[in-house]
Symmetry: D2
Subunit: 344 residues, 4 copies
């Protein structure tokens, strides 16, 4: 921690800051500059809360130089963490697995059709919401536990791994029972009680970036899960709030190299929510792989014109299939591989 | 709902959209323009999900003209809802009650000192976190249930109403038992499971605006609570995400008249989180009252330099007291009143 | 300047940074921490460009502790700068002058009517665009030099000071000849050639904050003007880009205390552009005065329903007049005064 | 244009809106809905300014359905515009030309070394600022006209096309004389006087997106240039303002497909400014090509550690060379080609 003094700070002000640092049990190191003095704090092992020092007379700013995260950081573990959610479906290695399927599970016919078509096109996992967080209480809220049963049936039929969202403690236990990976949605990224709950489960977690979360906040939320003993966490960039009405969200692909530098955890990309517009899903899915994403999650619907939610951003089956073909040479160009499931 | 066609849309494209609208059970009304055609949808009683129409060939854009909210809107109830959290503490009328106190309950001595000083200065309710949502799992997380007991003791001593945060279902039940108003924090504004839980409780709710929530999203989150039968909801502007590093948040005071036009619910302002910098709390608290806020919530600490959290934005006792004096003529200038508790 | 090293940086990495600092002519001061080392740079008198050091192996981050501005800062000049644009119209003292008038000068009848009504209500200066920066090349671009002549006539008739925008060098010279204060609009806040031009003129400048400019960038743009010898600069908060579609801009009133702490220059507020919605102008104008703004600039039109531009945010004459009455007790509550022109 | 009425609007309110539309010379078409009425305006040929209608009693909102742009839109010209800045250097076709070089021209030795190394690696055009827009008036402002002479010398030596920025009218004429393409920087994207000036020149223009410009605003600024008769415009995504301190800007790659859908003009990407961090330039340059960018502009310096500006985001020569190799298979995967200059 560094305490930057105002140019007009007096010797007494600087002394007062040094005393406050000593009182906290650390050693102060004043460093006079031509324009202003900075006081360092020696001996802290992790982030110190210096907000009360910020309040002392003559203090301009507090700067934290220690990283606020611990177990999620590359400094804690240098090699990539590989998260295997089902046999042959590993995130964080050289494979770039694709999770695909509809926004919501709507019916047995719909989810079976979706599962078969995404598997045929090369996806290795199936997405589909049973519990749906909707902005309005009057929108379709998902089939709930019945949706989980249908997802399990789709898995039995196709061999696809299942990824689906949980919105609360009870839901998390249900999802853990029926699925291979528990998704925590953007709106719950800072629902710390839920993060602690899933940190205690022994299931892989897909943690989506919040609507306006910084990369640091995303990593701190992951830290909540690791701190409970679960290091099987896959992060996900899914677009963030934008002031540009031409897009539903702003797809922040540079978060991918940013996270990969700071953390050993895998990070995948969701070009469907990331753009919110079907025409942009295909170019941005390609861009995500070229940027080094450790996987993709894509909305595909057997008949998007009849979808109960997110129809406008769901790919048509043939669009998804064409996209999967395009991704192969791009992955290969950077030394990676698009995995497929063995024939059954 | 209006479907705007591309300038290049063919007659067949327009016909297809009309058919889709008929299939949904509504009546289509095409409206040709010089540049492009718009198709209206007649007969919808509430928001229709037209995302699959957005996907049809020749469609440029879908525009929703129905308001997505119902019970929270002024069209549903024209007069202001008044929320009384304790005798003499009413939000939504001509009073402008002030809730004040420390960020966290730290000890009996601290919370008692805080309660006495804010009451003496003119506050009518006490804030103080027992359950603290912290970005890092390694930061102080609050005293939990013990903190609630201390708050109750402070109430017994001073007569101040108690406002404190709940982060999950279990916490909500505890807070409902010990406090007068349950706060839902910014990070949980879209935790729909928690919103449903507190919607079923018969306690006033203070719902803070999410970090990057639009006014519409804030109102839709309130709608979740009202839809469960609880209309005792106070909204709160507390600053939103900003790209300007000179401020912790951007305090969006114009959300106050914006909400008051759309909804009958009261809205208060939190200049402490709204700015994150002590020096700005006083001018911005004044500004909030002048803008028509229905109340204030302010961080004050008996000794901010020793606060366990948010020290840099907590007011010193004498600053708070001076601010309370300044607010009286401003409230009066717009026909409102700063209430105080009767002497005990 | 401080160079924060990565936790994994080697002694060689640290040594390399020290050498680079020495090569720049400064003295390096390494400060080992428990987690990572920070290297300070001693002896710099103003901001050093350390971007090439950021690139050295083992460097995590560069932190600048010197303020990047000079003549605009309170450290350069402690007392407020007072800018008098005409007799009795001074920004930066205890007065809170109001500049009011239409978005554009449209005709002699319109600007004369506007001038008379704003003067009668208590404004001391007249605004009105002759050169209009419009997003579309096909929108009304203003009357140009003819508009300046009409403004001058309005001044002769009413005694109001004239504030109007210049968009380029030639326009700046014309405005300097006909008006009392040259406005630089938000879109040109970083048009450095224009800033240098008006820095050489001997006229007061009203510099509006750019659409997404930080407080620091606003002050650096003002620094361009002062660096050319013109310290008669009034800053203006006019709302910034927002992701909330409920508002045209987000009115960042906390920029007012933020600027006043960092700089001696006066800062006024523009609630008309700041909100973009007529109903919010009145509460937010009150809020700006309560927050300590050194003046206001407000759009008023004799007949907003017929305005050629910005009709929806222009006040009706009677609304403006009511607002001016409301502002008096608010200004007085914080020890300030709403000035008026002497009767003629 | 559509006028959405409030649910509470009276028949008189609706009639008043219809009259206002008739007064403007158009035909009103009321469309009653279950919840509220919408009034359409028939017969407008281009964007109408309805802001004064927004002000009428009972009006909730004005919605513009006509596109505000004309010559830049795909509806105006369906096929891609190809912009050739020099023989063999064409943007908007199947080629993906790369413009590379240092942030600033610093010396003859530096720019010659830069030109040779970027040409050897496969770039077809040289960038390098002679006129530099810097946030601070005290930063290095470029070599000015001398820099242009050096760029011309580099062209003579290597055959690379020259792209460099102009900041004002006088500079634009100089750049037009010495270079192949005039860059308008982000800070001047809405400097309409400068846009009109370069619209009258017969030189290709590279127009960079403003710091917080929407896609629509970028296209409207291009419209200013086309409206003056110059359709040789290349757009450029260069990152936009972000609230995430982990990045200098947010690189909005989805603007590429968004622009390509709306406009026939080519759009390139600048991953150097787009990310501001050297480590992210390589993955994001690959991502830009995969997303369909019509070209790239990249900062490369012979010795980034000694750069006078932007050192931290400039690639080292060998990094640039490795990147150029990686781009070939990615371009090929989507049917495009990385062009190179013929040997000399």
């Amino acid at each position: 921690m560094l305490v930057v003094m105002q140019a007009t700070a007096s010797a007494v002000d600087i002394e007062r800051v040094c005393t406050a640092i000593s009182d906290m049990g650390y050693q102060p190191l004043p460093m006079p500059g031509a324009q202003r003095t900075t006081v360092g704090l020696i001996g802290n092992d992790r982030r110190v809360d210096g907000s009360h020092i910020e309040a002392l007379p003559g203090v301009a700013e507090i700067i934290y130089v220690s990283s606020p995260f611990k177990q999620v950081s590359r400094e804690w573990r240098e090699a990539n963490t590989q998260v295997t959610i089902a046999p042959g479906v590993t995130f964080g290695g050289s494979d770039v697995p694709v999770i695909a399927g509809p926004c919501s599970v709507e019916s047995e016919a719909q989810i079976m059709a979706a599962a078969q078509l995404v598997r045929a096109a090369g996806a290795v996992a199936l997405r589909g919401g049973a519990f749906k967080p909707r902005s309005s209480p009057y929108s379709f809220q998902g089939l709930g536990k019945d949706g989980l049963v249908l997802l399990q049936r789709a898995k039995a039929e196709t061999g696809l791994a299942i990824v689906t969202e949980a919105m609360d403690d009870e839901g998390a236990h249900w999802v853990a029972e029926y699925a291979d990976c528990i998704q925590i949605g953007a709106r719950n990224m800072q629902n710390y009680s839920l993060l602690k709950t899933v940190g205690k489960l022994r299931k892989p977690i897909l943690l989506k970036r919040g609507m306006a979360a910084t990369v640091q906040e995303l990593l701190l939320s992951a830290e909540y899960i690791l701190a409970e003993g679960n290091d099987q966490v896959i992060l996900c960039e899914r677009g963030v709030r934008t002031w540009d009405p031409s897009s539903r969200n702003m797809f922040d692909l540079s978060a991918i190299p940013a996270v990969q530098k700071l953390s050993h955890l895998p990070i995948i990309a969701d070009p469907s929510h990331g753009t919110g517009v079907r025409d942009r899903v295909r170019p941005m899915a390609r861009a995500a792989v070229a940027a080094g994403a450790d996987g993709l999650i894509i909305e595909v619907h057997p008949d998007p014109n009849k979808a109960l939610s997110d129809g406008a951003q769901s790919l048509f089956p043939q669009q998804f299939s064409a996209l999967m073909q395009e991704l192969v040479p791009i992955a290969n160009a950077i030394g990676r591989r698009m995995p497929t499931l063995a024939a059954r």
